[in-house]
């Protein structure tokens, strides 16, 4: 190896920064969709580097399902302040009221599907032409198929059989009025890459990513946090366990894992040893059908 070599994290970082700058250069009104999870936190860190010493030239947008972990919300507000970015929050609750949407019922009723309505309304309201998201191709089989610049029609729909060729690192962001592009700068990162990067860059994370005591109920082998958003039946067994989160989504559909890891090193070691994928271990919304993600993407989801 010569002196001019980059290690794999530096290579991934360079690729992501390049993508961020393409977005800023090619679009009039981009936005960074921020969920409060580790992937979108990594995105913000990369965006900071891409435009340093200037500020991130687009707002952070949070589609708030109302079912968030309070720790994630506090982190979101602090981060937006720190990087000096505009924070736009739009609530699913409001869309439900305005549009008389029907909330799904059930024990762990999730607003995951309803989120699409709020997202599309927000895109329309601000005329966003590019939305940057933290999806990774290693997460799921449908995501593994998506381009880095993914063109969506005015209903936000993904057409998996008609994707634009994406050659070399040349990104064609030209769109017609009403269309928008979803951009995924960390497409080529794996879960472990993200954790290793967070460790290397010493990026602070919301406390729920580390082991803490929490009241959980056990459901089909998964641990769901006790909260006002889920229905608790008499037969449910509730116990206090030492857990951490591997991903941070809604309280209704993100499961915790038992853990004693309190530092990033310990978390990374646990992730390296695990034999279960991130989605498999922590998402209870993808298990419904084999093509759950493909269907959601076709419907305008991320």
């Amino acid at each position: 190896m010569g002196e001019y070599t980059l290690d794999y994290l530096e290579q991934l970082e360079a690729e992501s920064i390049y993508i961020f700058r393409e977005v800023a250069a090619q679009f009039e009104k981009p936005a960074l969709l921020f969920s409060g999870g580790k992937d979108s936190i990594t995105l913000v860190q990369l965006a900071k580097k891409a435009f340093a010493p200037g500020k991130i030239p687009f707002p952070l947008v949070h589609i708030d399902t109302g079912h968030n972990f309070p720790e994630a919300l506090a982190y979101r507000d602090a981060l937006a302040k720190e990087v000096g970015a505009e924070l736009i929050v739009r609530k699913v609750e409001d869309t439900i009221k305005q549009k008389h949407l029907t909330e799904p019922k059930g024990k762990f009723a999730s607003r995951n599907w309803l989120q699409i309505h709020t997202l599309l309304d927000t895109i329309e309201e601000f005329k966003f032409d590019a939305c940057i998201g933290g999806a990774r191709r290693d997460e799921e089989k449908a995501r593994a198929k998506e381009r880095i610049f993914s063109v969506r029609d005015e209903f936000g729909q993904w057409e998996p059989k008609l994707q634009r060729p994406e050659l070399w690192n040349i990104y064609n962001g030209r769109i017609h009025k009403g269309e928008n592009v979803r951009v995924f700068p960390i497409s080529n990162w794996t879960e472990l890459d993200v954790w290793n990067y967070i460790k290397k860059e010493e990026i602070p994370l919301p406390s729920i990513y580390f082991a803490h005591e929490r009241e959980v109920l056990e459901h089909e082998g998964q641990l769901i946090a006790v909260s006002d958003y889920i229905t608790i039946d008499e037969t449910d067994v509730i116990s206090t366990k030492r857990v951490r989160y591997r991903t941070v989504g809604d309280m209704t559909c993100t499961a915790a894992v038992e853990s004693s890891a309190t530092t990033l090193d310990e978390v990374v070691n646990e992730i390296m040893a695990t034999r279960i994928s991130e989605r498999g271990e922590t998402r209870i919304d993808d298990k419904v059908t084999e093509a759950a993600m493909e269907d959601r993407k076709k419907g305008g989801y991320f």
């Binding site: 190896m1 010569g2 001019y4 070599t5 980059l6 290690d7 794999y8 530096e10 290579q11 991934l12 970082e13 360079a14 690729e15 920064i17 390049y18 700058r21 393409e22 800023a24 250069a25 900071k48 580097k49 891409a50 435009f51 340093a52 010493p53 200037g54 500020k55 191709r137 290693d138 089989k141 449908a142 593994a144 198929k145 998996p160 059989k161 994707q163 634009r164 060729p165 994406e166 050659l167 070399w168 690192n169 040349i170 064609n172 030209r174 769109i175 017609h176 497409s187 080529n188 794996t190 472990l192 890459d193 034999r275 279960i276 994928s277 498999g280 271990e281 084999e290 093509a291 493909e294």
Partner: protein, 413 residues
Amino acid sequence: MDILRFITAGSVDDGKSTLIGRLLYDSKSILVDQLEALEKQSKNKNADGIDLALLTDGLRAEREQGITIDVAYRYFSTPKRKFIIADAPGHVQYTRNMITGASNSSLIIILIDARAGVIEQTRRHSIIASLLKMPHVVVAINKMDLVDFSEERFNEIKADYEKVAAQLKLENVTYVPISALLGDNIVDHSETMSWYTGPSLLEFLEAVEVASDINHTDPRFQVQYVIRPQTAELHDYRGYAGQIISGVYKVGDKIKVLPAGIDTSITKIEVGGKEVNEAFAPQAAVLHIADDIDISRGDTFARADNLPKVGNEIEVVLCWLDNKPLIQGNKYFLQHKGRLLKTIVREVAYKLDVNTLERIPAEDGVKLNEVVHATIKTAAPLVYDDFATLSDYGNAILVDETSNSTVAAVLLN
């Protein structure tokens, strides 16, 4: 640890998806829940055992038809390397998706069904590999279990392919006999093919040298975005952000800004917000220059003693990727990294027969998946290199100005 990006190619049903499934499975990169899901689906499909191809065939239509339609990306690492795999479709109709995957890979695995040997699609994908200057080619002769693991058959196919490789001037070709289905020579050495003494596929992928594929001699940088914070503290800050495409840039370097042709020098370099003395490919950097010149996105910084080409009539190879045919005389946008120029496709000299490599006349128009030699004229001078000598600055795309589609991969000459 570094990264190796590779693609699997070959005809329909040669076993590309199965091979990737096998690589992931035998390197223990498939997690328990993914395996459970796989077992469940495989039963649904009435296949015996598990169908490893289902690991990458992620779309409903793909699972229903049992074929790959678009590229799927998969990831795994061993202690030696991180691997990014593009699983390409074998079907002729989806060749453009294969080109997408190939353009981002530095190694191609061409699968050949041992029963069928070298066929048209093997040639087509090899031509694409040769056109795109893929630095490393592995020919994996698959389904050896169906030809009694015969050394003779392996040598026969190898000899056939060597002729193709010679004709296409493919260098660095490695041959491995495998059974993706049974796992022979994928991760572990085959017990039944003891006559083969070379490395298993994974051993080869772990060892192949890719760091030297990056050009560190000819400095090329294109301005991607101008950073001008215009705040009180950073009032006069003006940095030119972009990726170092090739070569090395050092503080003090005398450079020429092209196409304007103005001389200046580099005063400061930043990478990731930190000041450094030099930056090299493929780092994302911010360069500062000594003079106040009008510079915008798409301008090239090159060293005065190592200049790229500048011109507006350019010979090109086009791989046509759109359902709409190429119309000679039509206007398109040429996108060269971040530079967008109006372009006319002037003259189509000839088509390349992807089976025989012969030049054939292009009178009946240029259709999807065809490869042609043509001349283009750009509305302003393009700053570029020959694809053959500096591929990273010799590639571009054509965009249809009415549909906005990416209609061609362009190799500049």
